[in-house]
Symmetry: D2
Subunit: 479 residues, 4 copies
Amino acid sequence: MSQETVAAAIPNVLAERYASPALKDIWSPAGRIGIERDYWIAVMKGQRTLGLKIPAEAITAYEKVKSQIDLAAIDARERKTLHDVKARIEEFSGLAGHEFIHLGLTSRDLTENVEQLQIHRSLGVVKMKAAAALIGLAKQAKTHRDVMLTGRTHNVAAQPTTLGKRLAMFGQEVLGAYARLVELIERYPVRGLKGAVGTQLDQLTLFGGSAAKVDKLEKAILKHLGFKQALFAVGQVYPRSLDFEVVSALHQLGASAASFATTLRLMAGQGLLTEGFQAGQVGSSAMPHKVNARNCERICGFSTILSGYVTMTGALSGHQWNEGDVSCSVVRRVALPDAFYAIDGLLETFLTVLKQMDVFTAAIAAENTRNLPFLATTTILMEAVKGGAGRETAHEAIKEHALAAAKAMRSGGGDADLVGRLAGDARLGLGRPKLEKILSEGSRFVGAAPQQVDTFVGEVARVTKGVKGASAYQPGKLL
Amino acid sequence: MSQETVAAAIPNVLAERYASPALKDIWSPAGRIGIERDYWIAVMKGQRTLGLKIPAEAITAYEKVKSQIDLAAIDARERKTLHDVKARIEEFSGLAGHEFIHLGLTSRDLTENVEQLQIHRSLGVVKMKAAAALIGLAKQAKTHRDVMLTGRTHNVAAQPTTLGKRLAMFGQEVLGAYARLVELIERYPVRGLKGAVGTQLDQLTLFGGSAAKVDKLEKAILKHLGFKQALFAVGQVYPRSLDFEVVSALHQLGASAASFATTLRLMAGQGLLTEGFQAGQVGSSAMPHKVNARNCERICGFSTILSGYVTMTGALSGHQWNEGDVSCSVVRRVALPDAFYAIDGLLETFLTVLKQMDVFTAAIAAENTRNLPFLATTTILMEAVKGGAGRETAHEAIKEHALAAAKAMRSGGGDADLVGRLAGDARLGLGRPKLEKILSEGSRFVGAAPQQVDTFVGEVARVTKGVKGASAYQPGKLL
Amino acid sequence: MSQETVAAAIPNVLAERYASPALKDIWSPAGRIGIERDYWIAVMKGQRTLGLKIPAEAITAYEKVKSQIDLAAIDARERKTLHDVKARIEEFSGLAGHEFIHLGLTSRDLTENVEQLQIHRSLGVVKMKAAAALIGLAKQAKTHRDVMLTGRTHNVAAQPTTLGKRLAMFGQEVLGAYARLVELIERYPVRGLKGAVGTQLDQLTLFGGSAAKVDKLEKAILKHLGFKQALFAVGQVYPRSLDFEVVSALHQLGASAASFATTLRLMAGQGLLTEGFQAGQVGSSAMPHKVNARNCERICGFSTILSGYVTMTGALSGHQWNEGDVSCSVVRRVALPDAFYAIDGLLETFLTVLKQMDVFTAAIAAENTRNLPFLATTTILMEAVKGGAGRETAHEAIKEHALAAAKAMRSGGGDADLVGRLAGDARLGLGRPKLEKILSEGSRFVGAAPQQVDTFVGEVARVTKGVKGASAYQPGKLL
Amino acid sequence: MSQETVAAAIPNVLAERYASPALKDIWSPAGRIGIERDYWIAVMKGQRTLGLKIPAEAITAYEKVKSQIDLAAIDARERKTLHDVKARIEEFSGLAGHEFIHLGLTSRDLTENVEQLQIHRSLGVVKMKAAAALIGLAKQAKTHRDVMLTGRTHNVAAQPTTLGKRLAMFGQEVLGAYARLVELIERYPVRGLKGAVGTQLDQLTLFGGSAAKVDKLEKAILKHLGFKQALFAVGQVYPRSLDFEVVSALHQLGASAASFATTLRLMAGQGLLTEGFQAGQVGSSAMPHKVNARNCERICGFSTILSGYVTMTGALSGHQWNEGDVSCSVVRRVALPDAFYAIDGLLETFLTVLKQMDVFTAAIAAENTRNLPFLATTTILMEAVKGGAGRETAHEAIKEHALAAAKAMRSGGGDADLVGRLAGDARLGLGRPKLEKILSEGSRFVGAAPQQVDTFVGEVARVTKGVKGASAYQPGKLL
């Protein structure tokens, strides 16, 4: 391999094309080392407080150099020692001019906790962006609260709803995923300092057998790092089903956005809306009218990606051998960061669509006009009966016309004028003006859709309140 | 279908070989009809309270016949009407001699809620059995709290722990899955009465447009059925990612048991314990000594099965088209009951193993004897230095002997007598008696393992307190 | 199990609602016993031929009773012996009045081979139905070979194609899955008679150490059962990745049908076709015009189900412990039959849709009319230039009108009359008649679509030739 | 983000830590551009041959500069044009000083075929390494052909086999995956030049409507690129279930290696062998005797990773909308290269283990000594009877001693001296010398194991013959 090729390492496509700096900073090689150094410093501080002879100036020295991250230097050390953790210890201590980090720690006391910190912080970023997405959805739902829309089941016109309600409906799914995410973040427990097989032997030895001190040290570190609870009976590793829980929570969140995106793709195909253009985006020169729902397709793609990481972490779960092994190692190196990059890319795309989507209300109205007579037959029946028609007679008449109109539409390919047909039937006694009046009263057909939007908007305000940065968050520019 | 074929229907293997009556009663055709009828009655009661003209004696009549479930009669009706919900309405009303059920409901107002009831009740059963498993684990952990055991990482002897601690370690994983399950049960929201596309149009029409009454009806039904919250902005269906959440919670629970089972299979292979025999079980006549960890293998199998249902429900998530479609229908018919049967079979098996497992403490002690000298080299070094040996000299001596002993073990295939080697080395100044004394002080090597067991036992008591039936639950006989 | 419970066994929903008798006969409890008895007889015959003292009349006796399958009697025997294989041996020998089956066999020598026979025969059924589906697709493609259709990418109108070509396109995907299936059937190897850990020890003992006779016995059995090759170095079990190969081939086939079904659902939503009605099927009384693509949705559902069994069998692969264990047992009991029921239900549904689908050519033509002016702008440009217009001028004019028309369509909701706009622009020099003439020449726009249909039809004829029963196969009535 | 951070793009961990140059060269950004340029040149040559006016010197010019790949320059162009394919066209044409590439191609005519080339070439590399692994396995199997080993089922001693046979058994699984891979490579069809919706409209236009020329062009390109067949009726894209087929074939291959690796991990835990040390590798300083099966664990990890990409590509299958969309785009960007990196890393690791594994035959013999008396009871019975003992009496005596010995082993933790017990029982009439003689005749117990090794070795020779580079291939140094 030539020098040039080395320089041009193959990039992680999820990180480099789709993820935002917030996530990349957590999971990049340099970002990880930063977190690791913070962790070491927290341990030192805790150990010092509890009586270990670690000089204050040593801690200060480490703190001073903690941002001097020289990947090449660390790499050179690793090639000599052939041990990655050792190389990073030596580099950090070399910079600080002291040797007080990693006392009584095994490699897993470091790496498990650091990775859990990466996960926990990433979950925080995801929560903020999910909250931002909910706020965006609520805004769009409110805007289109009363825009009557032909609701579809089986992809076929079924009953009217409103566009705002449809958006709230997808928002409902996001809210479910969000609630789960919040619970997980609250409960997420860290492995802590447990030694080679989880018995805390090394820290106990360090503190002369004082279980109280070992316990205090762990609590101090938890607090420092922002965790509320530690696991108390682990082996070499924390249970891998916890990774599955994390990734499946991400998939649930991604899937809720994908439901929204799938329906937007359907609506774009029917010309009812567009996901919008990004500034500077150029369409096909051959087909300048064509507006593709590419971002919505991408959201669906990210959701599919997440399902793969669910499989990977799901396959790790339940396979712990004794106190732990490293058959999970390469899997977690891939699945954990990549799952976070994927959900991050998904949320960035989702937020972009929510910001740029553009509704063609005239097209939506035209669709209603074509479908409403079919969807409103129950109401028309009631009105005919009210006006004096016999129920059975009227029902028969309506059914005849509906079937005939549907047939005409299919064989003629165009509008079937069901209203005209109904207006011309004396059995119903409803002229065209009366029928059109009925059909024009949208609120008769959309039920509680607008009120449901209000509930959704209120719920979003409630659950996103206090989520720092969410309401102001703007997605980055997409590739 | 002819009578003969009905008689010989292909059975659901998960239900019929592995699941317990508690789960089968919820998901069997008759069980489902029972739940459905309860639901219809709850709706009628609510509607009557809110002013619909439903006579009290009609409700009484329905209640009286609700347990008369004649699958053949319903089947005959379905073959006439070609509509399953209609057939069941007619049967129930026929038995009651009234026609007041299903007023203003669409099929999904029935089926979604009934299925969610099945899910919610099943989750309750699963929670009870998971609590029973935790209690069983805690009991075993307590019993073996101080039994020193050769802890392993990479499947190779690493550091001592205790058997109780190892069991607590797997209990820790179960606790995580249990916590998530409890959260899910608490939060699990039901779809409620929302009509064909979710706008509540039909119920609103039924109550003359009174949103307040529609709201009250839903609340009454929720209360009656034991749900704490309803979704407020659904389409035809509730979001399918909720099914994924349920099934992934089951997989997480199953995986936690599978980690335990995997390690028991390893330990059985090393002759350290057995999962036990069931009363009446006969071993191979050719190999009467052979005790296979079949139940533990089965637990692992169930966990694998659950991973498949995770994939199925995960693949449904994010694919909602508009207000909903039925491409999920056949998937949910399979994945939901079968996932519950699988976790139920898994928990029954897990509980059986916890009850019957038998530990060969002498074999465990013999393993320690073989390994402890290797695992205790750090302690031996300290003692040698304390006794006057030079640290470097002692370190060198120990390393020499450890490597030589390991080599001897591999090439000789038997015991390597590391203790003898060390005892014979004047550089260390430790005789065999002294060395054996060190090695006999098990508590020096197991760190906080016993105390972690205590914490686990306490935690189990805390989280299972008040879970009705858990502490007394006994698994059924396995096939 | 009491009589009542036996009567109301929970049925396997995939088998009982969706699968056809052909598959159910292979996988039902009785069906399996039939295959097992055939296998035992084949072994006896082989052993007799090679010199074991098995009387001819004993074999005749077994053959005579082999169809007397009394599940209740076998069940009663199993409750006494607590061993399923033993119970079935005793029942069969009891009926025959001889004791010559299962000589020198271990349980796995029976069960592995029987299950592989079930798989191999099922694959044959699947192949036949896949061939039938190809024939159905080819017929539909031929019928609609020249029906111009608005091709879509990103779900948005892109370039014309023909409906026949679109069907051939999905047929191409089916052909790929079919080719793989055929290869798999050809190559599928059976485990054979290998004994408890695969060393053939017991058969060798039986034949006094004659490896040649053991080999001949196996070859005879293979031939008898229709396999072309046996594995030669297995353990207790055949490699489980072979199950993964089978199930992933089924998923590939199912997915190819699901691609077709997905697009039919899209087209049904746009009113371009219907999957058809089954005789006797009644639509919604409230919405008599509504034709739901329920069967196509079901096809997609089956495909999702298969993806779950891919995960299950994929998770078994790579986890063999030593010569084999039974952690796969419960998984295979579920995943293998259920995967075959699912693909069978899928193919039955697919064949039904292919038979009943109904194309609304007028609606397709109307869609073309709306879209073709946009899709034909390149051709219009060429014609304008041919007629004397400057290329740049003409391009500019067309672009102006296309964008304006698209905008009008979105804001007006209706037809945008791009033709009218172009006809009215002197810069192009093309009047409405000329433009309409261009647009009417469908063959200018569909490229090689019709010829590709011909290739597809030819290819289907080639690969399905000689597949017994395929061309005449009719799907059963769907529930 | 600072300049430095930009420079240090987050690397693809599978590519950079585990994959070999052969795979990285195919999938790296530069590697892809190389393949793309080859493709463009092949198209030009074909078009020129068929009459398009493309000067020979233009082609020569392109060929001359095709290796000048300047990623930064291309990136700068993309930032201007905002179109990745356009940027690469301009760069290549700029370098060549001509504009003859990409005539009549749409983006997918380029990208689909290039990606299929990447896949096809990667499959070739994988095949070569799989062949190398088979050769390595055959070599090890041959070396240990006759080393008697305690075969295990349920992880418990069951019947003797040989180590060579156990290796051949895993080789059998690899052979199955290899056969499938070879079939796939042979059959793998390329999309070809089909235009925007697959109708070949643009190439037909380019060649004045000559279908014959379009066909010839495609055939010429296929030949040039090494494909044997093209798809004939695609849409915008080739069917995505083909990607699923590829990735599931990789998973099958990876799983076959993982079965081997799992059992090596079990054997390492029992001290029977080691996967070996890499030159320069340093063990734990605290536990110098500890030899972890890290590489085998890693193989299992890669297999798990592949299962996730199976899920991803499986989830794409069956979801084509119309002539195609790009919801698969981001998924394929991740799953395809990463699946190949993973299988490559797996094979490199597998080859390393096969090269370095070290068998502790003494330990294996010691295990046999402990277990053989139990496993040989059937033979001992026969010998006792031969010597004059009554069958029933002898059977009873053996059973007594076997159970007592097993019990003693468990309660005493050590050797149970079954031989001594049997030797001391007059009912059997077999003294210790006779018993030890029986037990020493290994070949009585291993059946056809050695002959099966021979068959395996022969089969490997047959299928790997002619696979260029396989027998000489050496894995790279692992990290």
